[in-house]
Symmetry: C2
Subunit: 175 residues, 2 copies
């Protein structure tokens, strides 16, 4: 598991061959089949860990009552984007694994969504939280995606991801 996670960071999903995973873990190529039904299930397990990790970070951030609601929301969105920056392959995995079908994966993703929902509600109120929550998650995901594929070059757009998040949160604020 740890071995697979390292290999994913180093060379992407294609580098996560069962041979390589086994070698890194000090076992043989067939060993993972004792723990995972499938290569896909192994990758899904990595994605679930990532979702839960993001949920933990946002949960911790939400506990910081000193910060203004807008700042907390901004930093929460950046937590997600930073996964894309630091572990691009893992990030891609989180969103390429279809959540429907795997209840465990769906639950982990729902944790993150709910964390964001309360963060957004603190800024725009309960009534509009869902609408704007969907908008913010979409936009944050899009920013991460465009950064990842190199379509968000600063010399072209004059802004970077962080500024876009700030722009977005400001635009959402009531009034």
């Amino acid at each position: 598991m740890r071995a697979a996670s390292e290999l994913l960071d180093e060379g992407g999903p294609d580098a996560v061959t069962l041979r390589a995973v086994g070698a890194r873990a000090g076992v043989s190529r067939g060993a993972p089949y004792g723990h995972f039904e499938d290569k896909q299930h192994l990758l899904t397990a990595l994605a679930v860990d990532a979702w839960n990790s993001v949920a933990d970070e946002v949960e911790e951030l939400r506990a910081d009552v000193d910060a203004a609601p807008g700042d907390r929301l901004e930093r929460g969105l950046l937590k997600l984007i930073e996964v894309g920056r630091r572990q691009p392959h893992l990030y891609a995995l989180m969103f390429s694994t279809p959540v429907s079908g795997d209840p465990v994966a769906a639950a982990a993703a729902t944790r993150v969504e709910n964390e964001f929902l309360t963060l957004v509600a603190d800024v725009v109120g309960e009534a509009d939280a869902r609408r704007y929550g969907a908008l913010l998650m979409s936009s944050a995901h899009g920013i991460a995606g465009l950064e990842l594929s190199g379509h968000l070059a600063k010399e072209k757009w004059t802004v970077d991801g962080d500024e876009l998040v700030r722009l977005l949160v400001d635009a959402i604020r009531p009034g």
Copy 2:
């Protein structure tokens, strides 16, 4: 090429095996190597076609001077999202192919970006076009991505992709 495109739509990138492409085109598995350096280059060629196709559609839409600038922008963003809905695998390919390194792919993507840029400028003015252009493309891409991975269920967020685009364009309008 046509054969590869069909196979991509039917079963995703993994279905685009050289054997299948050859069979569908009536030739043998090694034949594509006369036309493409690599399987990756073949897939990139599909992505370039898709980028140019979107650019054509937005260009055509931009010529419709009867529509309000805001409506044109809205419909332009939906053009991109609709590729994600109708040809999810092709859409994924457009953004998984890194534009840096392949100048042809970069040029095709730049065409789309410039089309959107003028569309945005008609709404917010030249001065803010780049900023808001980046925001809108990011958000549209994020909406398409979340729809694709099933994270944008309407029962959860009470809105769908189309409404998010409308919300976004309204939020961008000056004043």
